[in-house]
């Protein structure tokens, strides 16, 4: 056969295969592009929802009360559905139509969550069960641990703040406390909170403290200046410091104060965290079996702390 004929036969066979493969690849590319486009629109609708939530809560001093919070969340859900419909170019779409494509919206708060998800409605006369999106009641991050007749309920939060409820049915003992959990240590060269002071074993608190270390760094109290000091140069060349200006603009002469307040919030935090963690480990968790103790005791071993020494 001539080369020309062979070439034509080759092209006639290869061309349809090439066309089909390129159409298939184009479909894959279009699908990936469309998925990316929907993801983008969804993300921007979520961003708008959170912007609305932020704006509503910032402008409302009662935003932390539950009724106001529920109202803020429902308003931000409305914003989400309108923004999502708008970004798809379907501004006339109702909220219930948009929510058909959204299985659930979860609002993670500091110590619990709200979830907006389909709920089965009570069956009507024709025995059909319908599903509508509703905002479920607030669910706390809580867990219960039992050991015989001893029970402990812990309410968690997004950071290390917990509320602990302990009940012993045999002794009819009930204890509850809330505070920050941190790893505590009796060794200065170990990570965690180390306090050099006098410990009162009856009241489980420090009566006097010499120093506090956290991860081998000393926590000190900072003396800070919280009043503005105005310097005035007198005619004789000396300088007088004032710390207050009257409403009419004249300077009021007070003794200049350079140490108005002591910033001790870190100091107090570590002291309180130590006392709370001590109570938690020794008064509560110690009463449970080994499995529960291993799971719930706060120590250096079960907290992934970095082994660093700070240098200045």
């Amino acid at each position: 056969m001539r080369l020309q004929n062979l070439i034509i036969i080759f092209v006639v066979i290869a061309l349809p295969v090439i066309i089909i493969l390129s159409v298939y690849v184009n479909y894959q590319v279009d699908t990936a592009n469309l998925r990316a486009s929907y993801d983008n629109k969804f993300l921007s609708a979520t961003y708008d929802m959170l912007t609305a939530f932020q704006l509503n809560t910032t402008n409302d001093k009662y935003s932390t009360t539950s009724d106001s919070l529920v109202r803020d969340i429902e308003a931000s859900i409305n914003t989400f559905s309108a923004a999502f419909a708008g970004s798809l170019g379907l501004t006339g779409m109702s909220k219930s139509d948009v929510m058909t494509y959204v299985p659930a919206l979860l609002f993670t708060m500091y110590d619990g969550y709200y979830i907006y998800a389909p709920t089965a409605k009570v069956a009507n006369e024709s025995d059909k069960i319908t599903y509508d999106h509703t905002l479920k009641p607030y669910v706390y991050y809580t867990d219960e641990y039992k050991n015989g007749n001893k029970k402990i309920i812990i309410n968690y939060s997004l950071d290390n703040y917990v509320a602990v409820y302990y009940y012993d049915e045999d002794n009819n003992e009930y204890q509850s406390k809330a505070g920050y959990l941190e790893a505590i240590t009796k060794n200065l060269n170990s990570n965690g909170i180390y306090i050099d002071g006098t410990w009162d074993d009856v009241n489980k608190t420090f009566t006097s403290i010499n120093s506090i270390y956290y991860n081998r760094v000393e926590i000190d109290r900072d003396e800070i200046l919280i009043k503005n000091v105005y310097s005035h140069k007198n005619p004789d060349g000396t300088t007088t410091n004032y710390y207050s200006i009257k409403a009419d603009g004249t300077i009021e002469n007070f003794n200049p104060i350079e140490k108005e307040s002591i910033e001790a919030s870190a100091y107090d935090y570590y002291k309180e965290a130590y006392e709370f963690t001590y109570w938690y480990n020794n008064e509560i968790i110690n009463k449970f079996d080994n499995d529960t103790k291993n799971k719930l005791t706060i120590s250096i071993d079960n907290l992934a702390l970095p082994n660093v020494r700070f240098k200045f």
Partner: protein, 174 residues
């Protein structure tokens, strides 16, 4: 001899298709993709600017129109602004009477928006309003016309470049 002529004609025809038409279709398609991306970028920039500044100036809008027309196609731009209607007659015991996402929105469409833009050189928006911009091409691109020739599927109103973007305004403009 006749067989040879037929083979020659078929081979020339195939060569023209392979060397000429298919690469042209591929490049025209890529061109449309690039135009789509360019228009998407400029539309997002316009919406972002409106969201962050709370207003659209005539200058911003004109430079947006010029930028998208620089892709070589003509476009139909639809702007819808959903204005938050603060309803003071709503009874409430709370501190804030109105919340974003709770109240009624009324819409301002392209013609009203363009009139306002021409009259005042800017359209001022407030916190909570929403802006939706939709751009679609009105001309027939090369890829579209080639596809029409081969597949006869594309109708009169099909677009190959469609971009929609929207945002909720975060600051009061003006």
């Amino acid at each position: 001899m006749g067989g040879e002529t037929l083979t020659t004609i078929v081979s020339i025809f195939l060569a023209a298709i392979l060397i000429g038409i298919f690469p042209m279709i591929a490049i025209a398609d890529r061109n449309d993709d690039i135009s789509q991306l360019t228009v998407q970028t400029y539309t997002s920039e316009l919406v972002d600017k409106a969201v962050k500044t709370g207003k659209i100036t005539e200058e911003d809008f004109n430079s947006f129109v010029q930028a998208i027309y620089s892709t070589g196609n003509t476009y139909d731009i639809d702007v819808e602004i959903q204005v938050l209607d603060e309803n003071p007659s709503k009874k409430t015991t709370q501190y804030t009477e109105t919340k974003i996402g709770e109240n009624v929105y009324y819409s301002i469409f392209t013609t009203q928006f363009m009139n306002e833009l021409e009259t005042n050189s800017a359209y001022i928006l407030k916190e909570g309003d929403r802006i939706i911009v939709k751009v679609s091409n009105t001309n027939t691109t090369i890829a579209q016309s080639l596809k029409n020739f081969f597949y006869s599927l594309a109708g009169n109103n099909s677009y190959s470049i469609v971009v929609t973007d929207s945002g909720t305004i975060a600051v009061n403009g003006g």
